[in-house]
């Protein structure tokens, strides 16, 4: 081979390749070929698992879900026909999602802006960064336990049911606050990614027409990072509506709203409640309610919510691609 390169014939006749000139695996080492096969198999396996979950839940859900379940609260009953639906759980999920993300989104965006655009002193930025990574790794049940300590304190008694000086520490406020902490790292990470992807010369272009750093952030950088901010919010929402541990510890112990004293809506928000995840957990065969058909119905609703969020992330990104971006 080497000598033929050195003494190249003046006009090598082009030889027609026997097959299409696509790189084949014929020259690969055996271990590489096995690796490729394993990758394929694993990929297909995970696709199959995902499809199985979705299809099974859809099938079960459609079978058991009745529209009346969405508007009837759970009641005590001897059979699944008598025990009502899960409207309180559905509403509860919407409430914790709204409250949780309205804390996590501004806080997360603020942290991300500070980390990317300011980040001084460097030591503090590094500490903040690793703190957020640590939070992302903390199991939510640990956060939930920590939440009971905080929200059972007398100082925060106004946020939950209080009886003879004993603060229960279980309320929508308590659960949403801890759920916001679960969602925060996702918002921060996604927003940071969006801000870091903006080329430095775009910032400088804004400074170079006399804009301040804060005006640049507000009018140029955050709008440019909007798709990533939205993605972070959606991912955070997904975590919030999917979390069970915090709900069980900081909100649950009931399948209905348990309003306490105070003006609407604070009487509800200060009281205990439930969400779909809690309902599924309790209604599953291992839970206290033991009504698996309704567990499937509720799980189906939950799944639809998560799929809708995923679709929304997709839409946001596709729309962002239409606006275009800078060459770096």
């Amino acid at each position: 081979m080497e000598s033929s390169v050195a003494t190249r014939p003046p006009a090598p006749a082009p030889q027609k390749p026997a097959k299409d000139p696509v790189e084949g695996s014929a020259t690969w080492r055996l271990s590489d070929r096995i690796g490729l096969v394993v990758c394929w198999a694993l990929g297909l396996l995970f696709c199959a698992i995902a499809v199985a979950i979705v299809v099974y839940l859809l099938a079960q859900g459609i079978k058991y879900l009745r529209p009346s379940m969405l508007v009837t609260p759970a009641t005590a009953g001897f059979s699944q026909a008598e025990s009502g639906g899960f409207s309180d759980a559905l509403l509860g999920t919407l409430i914790v999602a709204t409250m949780g993300i309205s804390i996590a989104l501004p806080a997360g965006v603020g942290v991300a802006v500070w980390l990317v655009e300011y980040g001084r002193p460097t030591a503090l930025a590094r500490i903040a960064e690793s703190t957020i990574e640590a939070i992302a790794g903390i199991p939510s049940i640990v956060l939930a336990l920590f939440g009971t300590v905080i929200f059972s304190s007398t100082a925060l008694g106004f946020l939950s049911r209080t009886s003879e000086g004993v603060v229960f520490g279980r309320s929508f406020f308590a659960a949403s606050a801890m759920l916001a902490i679960v969602a925060l790292p996702l918002v921060v990470a996604s927003t940071r990614e969006g801000l870091s992807a903006i080329p430095q010369h775009v910032r400088e272009a804004s400074y170079a027409v006399g804009k301040t750093k804060i005006a640049t952030t507000r009018r140029i950088l955050l709008p440019a990072a909007r798709p990533q901010v939205a993605t972070g919010a959606m991912l955070g929402l997904g975590r919030i509506i999917g979390d069970t541990a915090i709900i069980v510890v900081l909100l649950g112990a009931t399948q209905n709203f348990a309003p306490v004293g105070g003006a609407f809506p604070f009487n509800y928000l200060r009281g205990a409640g439930t969400t779909l995840t809690n309902f599924v957990y309790e209604a599953s065969p291992t839970g206290n309610l033991n009504q698996p058909e309704k567990a499937y119905a509720a799980a189906f609703v939950l799944l639809l919510m998560v799929l809708a969020l995923n679709a929304a992330v997709d839409v946001v990104h596709r729309r962002a691609r239409k606006v275009g971006t800078w060459s770096s």
């Binding site: 010369h201 170079a208 009018r219 140029i220």
Partner: protein
Amino acid sequence: MEFIAAVSEFDRHIGGVSSGTSPLPPPIKRLPLEDGAPATQVAPGAAPPVGNGPATPGGFTAARRAIGAPQFSIRRMEIDDVSVSYADREAVKGVSLPVRQGEVLALIGPSGCGKTTLLRSLNRLTELTRTATLRGRILLDDVDIRQIEPTSLRRRVTMVFQQPNPFPMSVFDNIAYVLREQGSRRQRKKALEPKVHSALERAGLFEEVKDNLDHPALRLSGGQQQRLCIARALAAEPEVLLLDEPCSALDPQSTQVIEDLIVKLRDDVAVVIVTHNLQQAYRVADHVAFMYLGDLVEYGSATALFGSPREQRTKEYVSGAFG
């Protein structure tokens, strides 16, 4: 080497014979370097010099300069013995230059010679780099720029960058952003319209985008984006316009449009352009400053600097011996 290969390929193509007997003289000129090694250079300009070669070391002839002499010149900025260092490394070493309205000043030199740093120090953008320190004085209308608040200085000395970087909003809002007070959204569209239109007109973009002012600016072509950036820089009504290799990301036609624009603008604002492209400097500039390794090697009128450079290093650079 690439040039040689490309040219001989070209010759074969049109002449149908080997490059040695091509009827066209290859647009290649060799100059001896100090150590005797031959340097290869394509002669500047679109057309290769015909016959016995160019009259000047760089091959620049007066005929290719399309712009006339400046009508007037008003001193706007004065760079006085300015040195800029990044940490320990000195990027600009004691440079003194005048910047005049009515003229285009081009800063040329090989990569890393400090020309962009010098340009960025004119509106204190270097201060954004934490390690940068500046010594010497830069005067804008006889006031030291360090006594001017950075944001108001940067509205008087605006800048256009190497990469077109319109903001991710509509064409109209790109200009309106500059006109509005910092982050505010006050001042309705209607009130800003005349100023936005005039800025786009001055940048020669209005005719092309007047029906699409609401379209996202990042959807414009590269050349249009860059003219939008120029319009944006002009909207602040600056006294000095800084251009940092504004055409390096553009195709030849867009480059031509922007070069024409630069020449047109010189009466309204003092223009300083950094460029890698010697032909471009020759085409648009009235005065040229050649920098090398942070030093200002030579400063003079474009015809003088390209036609009869005084310094050996300038001669070598403009003739393509290095850079």
